[in-house]
Point group: C2
Chain length 476, copies 2
């Protein structure tokens, strides 16, 4: 472990300046002891921080020994004891997770108090290789394969204090050699808490085996991780951009993405946006299942209208035209379309009637027939589909506003004879499922005159000859 | 191996239409036998193609058996025998590489002749997992980890005929079960050629071990590869864009990248552009070494002028200001700056003198002193640094054009007293190394009057009072 190289890594990769204070997470094990000694040797200002996890009988003695080591170098020492076992029980975490969480919280709290620029931890290249192989075996995806970074800012614990890992480019053997050369005496069991059963098996069985089968494997794994980190940093930035483009609405328990916008993004960013949505709705969960991502992509690419479909972790997916909803099953999604009140309302013309969500229905007589782009064109959706002119004679002035009923039929403009089921018309027009039951219908008796937003009925269209005309408009 | 699922994969993932003809690479082994039988069962038009690699005594018999299988299904059969051993020797490839190359060439040739839409090969999910783990162990980087695709077009063999792998989502065991269920009798050794010693060890030792340690590992590895394929497709497209932005010049044995442009790109695209440059200059080599990429990035980020430095595979890197050259060591890089001829040239004023690369020196008397933005401002580089006005009296009309000599000193404009070594001046001004020896200098006797492109000498500057003025200009 060469001090010149360490200093260079610290300046260039960790971007720590010579006068900046570091809080060093110090267990007393070989890695953190070597890092403490080496950082002190190159004159970096240091505070030594030790968390007693209270899991083993010897831990209090180890904390004392850690304090002595710090004192022998004339360094400030901060220590604290937590009951990790109780924390783990309370939060339903594994011991390892709870210890990790408590440790980093402690280190960053000390760093804040001591006005340190960064927290330094002593992960080595071996830890990196183990982490990568573990993620690979457990299937954490490309994001997991990037491994640990020399410098993380922002990180999970702070947006101002960096987390740096200056030993990430050094192998464990180099660290042990350094300890031996400088007559340092690490606590050999101190770091065992970090090593779960699975990680221990990786370290002592799998990695040596793979290294033996393909010499240089560990080093190449670290290189692969470094390349992936670069790729992922770029993709993260692009996902953030795609997310901003595609996020249409965000509320309590739901997000709405613009489906057309999402479909124009490349696959990698579609996946990223879905993971982003998941992290917004389920911040406490780490990873979104691969299969769930694929299912979501299949859904929004292949269906323009779906009933809410089960997604992952209690969330549902729901496509309504250009709207892709991702929501808690319990969440009532917002409605932004017009709905008819119950029971049916007789419409005295002229009329102005307030509906839900800021929608208002107005009907009045008019003399203009083709003064603007409305009328038949509008009824066909060629201009504003929420405005229409129709033949007042045909309606006989006797109009009601109501919701659909079983057996409703409709003769849309352009269908010269016969009629179709209203439900089929709604399906053909891809009206959102949630909107259908209460969609406002303008009717004369049993006959549907106008389906606002979609189509006028054929018999009520304006025809040649100047007859009285009604202007109907629905607006927000 | 479910035929409905296979048909779906074929349509959706391989994008092969029901009426499109496929050429199936058929060894007679279980994978290709099952694929042949299954594709035939779902009614896909097929041509069966078999390459006899001529490496084993039984291979001629196997080719015959393959023909019989095809005939029994009423399918067209194309077969050929090549001497793979001779090919490998000739091209200095391994047997496996030579066989693979010969096989795909044959399959795509048949596909062209038979007007097939695609070549189908029978790689399974197990082959995918093995390939990925092999790449991971050997360190092929993120590009290697993406593994094989269900559909590749363009591919290494064609830009029109796709390569499809419909079995990539099925495990070998499913294939074997299919063969058993349909009473198919594969040639069990036929595919052994594909399996090198290393791959065999992966298949029979490492993968089972890893699967045992982390159940589901193989499946997750395939998922990771799928995610990486998506990420890499995006990154490839961005690299292509960055390459177009940053490529300034391309010639026999060299490329020149715009260094400022490259430095503005994110790390992942810098790496990609370097790999792209490498593939242009060394198309026959597959992978650029990780360390070589890092070295190149360190070089162009930290030095504005370098001597040519060794890179990789007989290439060198060379930074000249905004120019990053990547070139064969043997290649003479283009020169686009002015150079002085030898021996020195006496300049009779007025003069027009043609130099190298389209450069021309003109000197004439002028009466304007400050008519435009030239003059002192220009000499200081504030306008065109290749144009200057100076005091004709001071020069005495006695000017020469020459290259630098040992011991040359220079008193740049703004240095009121003393002088500096011309070589130091050139270093300070970051003049490209290659340009220094023959850079054109305008001198009076031993005194340097003007270093075109950089600075006028202080004693020759225009001063108060109207004195005769010379206009010197170097232009292309």
């Amino acid at each position: 472990m060469d001090l010149t190289r360490l200093a260079q890594v610290l300046r260039q990769d960790c971007t720590v300046e010579p006068q900046q204070r570091l809080v060093l997470g110090f267990s007393g094990g070989p890695d953190s002891l070597a890092l403490l000694h080496a950082l002190h040797s190159i004159g970096q200002p240091l505070v030594v921080a030790h968390l007693d996890h209270g899991l083993r009988a010897e831990s209090a003695g180890e904390a004392q020994a850690a304090g002595k080591t710090a004192a022998s170098l004339g360094l400030l020492f901060c220590s604290e004891r937590v009951d990790v076992a109780a924390l783990a029980k309370e939060r339903k975490h594994s011991l390892e997770e709870a210890a990790r969480e408590a440790r980093y919280r402690f280190l960053f709290r000390v760093a804040g108090q001591q006005k340190a620029a960064a927290v330094a931890v002593a992960h080595t290249a071996d830890d990196q290789a183990e982490t990568l192989l573990m993620h690979l075996l457990r299937g954490a995806g490309p994001a997991g394969l990037r491994g640990m970074a020399m410098r993380s800012l922002p990180n999970s614990w702070s947006s101002e204090i960096a987390l740096v890992r200056p030993l990430l480019g050094f192998w464990r053997q180099e660290v042990l050699d350094y300890c031996a050369a400088h007559n340092l005496h690490p606590v050999m069991d101190a770091s065992n808490l970090d090593t779960t059963f699975f990680r221990n098996r990786l370290r002592h069985e799998l990695l040596p085996l793979l290294e033996n089968q393909a010499p240089g494997f560990k080093a190449r794994l670290a290189q692969t991780a470094d390349l992936l980190r670069g790729d992922q940093a770029l993709i993260d930035a692009l996902v953030e951009e795609a997310w901003r483009h595609c996020l249409a609405q965000e509320g309590e328990g739901f997000v709405r993405l613009d489906r057309s916008c999402l479909m124009r993004e490349p696959l990698a960013l579609q996946r990223g946006a879905l993971r982003r949505a998941f992290s917004v709705l389920r911040p406490e969960q780490r990873e979104l299942d691969y299969v769930a991502v694929q299912r979501a992509i299949d859904l929004f690419q292949n269906a323009a209208n779906t009933a809410p479909a089960d997604w992952f972790a209690g969330l549902c997916l729901h496509v309504e035209g250009d709207k892709l909803w991702i929501a808690d099953w319990q969440t009532e999604l917002p409605v932004d379309w017009p709905q008819a009140p119950e029971p049916e309302t007789h419409l005295e013309i002229p009329i102005e009637l307030n509906l839900n969500a800021g929608w208002r229905l107005t009907i009045r007589a008019t003399k203009e027939r083709n003064a603007d782009a409305n009328g038949e064109a509008g009824a066909l959706g060629m201009a504003d589909p929420f405005q229409v002119k129709l033949d007042a004679h045909a309606t006989d002035g006797d109009l009601v506003l109501r919701r659909r009923k079983a057996g409703d039929r409709f003769q849309p403009l352009g269908m010269a004879e016969g009629s179709m089921k209203l439900s089929d018309f709604m399906i053909n027009e891809k009206m959102p499922l949630r909107a259908r039951d209460a969609w406002p219908l303008i009717c004369r008796g049993d006959k549907i005159v106008w389906v606002p937003g979609y189509r006028l009925a054929h018999p009520f269209r304006l025809q040649a000859g100047s007859r009285p005309t009604l202007l109907l408009r629905l607006e927000r």
